[in-house]
Subunit: 121 residues, 2 copies
C-alpha cells in the first residue's frame, strides 16, 4: 500500500545535484524529486510532457525562444518535443512528474548529467 | 504555449468547496486544485490512481481499514479501485493529478459533491 511522502523530509535525505530520487508512482507515471544548481543540458522528451513544481528556491525553464522563471510554489508543464534546459543560479529543489522510463536528459546522453539509476527516497 | 501557475495565487481566486479548478494538463492527465472542508462521499476510481498534494491545512484520506493523515507539503497517491473518502476538519487546499475525464466522485453520483464542470483557473 502506498505511503505518504513529506517533501521537506524527503529532500533532506540527499544532497547531490541532478540525481532525481523516485518519490512514488501514479499509474505509469513517476513522481521524482531532484536538487540542482547551474545549467543542465539542452534536451527534449518526444514522448511526454514534464511537470515541474518548485519546492524551494528559483529556477528557469529556458526554451530556444523564451525563459520561464519559476519560484517555490509555482508549477509548469514543459510540452513534449520542445527543446529546453533547466537553469538555477542557486540550489533549487523541484518535484517532477513524467511518464515512467523517461530519461532525464531526453534525446541527449551526457556523461555527467544523464541519470542511469534513480534510487527511491 | 503553457504558462506557469502560482499555486497561492491560483487558490486565492476561488472560495467554494469541493469544486475543483483545472490548473493545467500533463499529457492526458489533469492538474486540478480544490478547496474543501468536512466529509466528501465514499467512492473509488476504477481507472486511475489519484495524486493528492496538500498545499495548505490538513486532511485525512480515509480507507475502509485505515486513515492516512496528510498536512501541507505532503503527497499521497490513492490507488485505483480502492474505496476512500477525503475528510478535513478545517478548510484544506490540495493539488490533484489524475487521468482526464475522471469524475471527482468516481463510481458515485452525489447531488452536492459531483462536479459536472471544472472551470479553469
Amino acid at each position: 500500500m502506498n505511503t505518504p511522502v513529506n517533501l521537506a523530509q524527503a529532500f533532506s535525505t540527499f544532497h547531490d545535484h541532478w540525481r532525481p530520487r523516485l518519490a512514488g508512482t501514479l499509474n505509469d507515471y513517476v513522481i521524482k524529486i531532484v536538487k540542482f544548481q547551474g545549467e543542465f543540458v539542452w534536451h527534449k522528451h518526444d514522448d511526454t510532457d514534464e511537470l515541474f513544481l518548485v519546492h524551494k528556491g528559483e529556477m528557469i525553464v529556458r526554451f530556444r525562444d523564451r525563459d520561464v522563471p519559476l519560484k517555490a510554489g509555482e508549477l509548469f508543464v514543459i510540452p513534449k518535443g520542445v527543446e529546453h534546459i533547466t537553469v538555477a543560479e542557486n540550489e533549487c529543489e523541484a518535484l517532477l512528474i513524467e511518464l515512467a522510463g523517461t530519461r532525464n536528459t531526453g534525446d541527449v546522453e551526457d556523461p555527467d548529467k544523464t541519470a542511469t539509476v534513480e534510487p527511491s527516497i
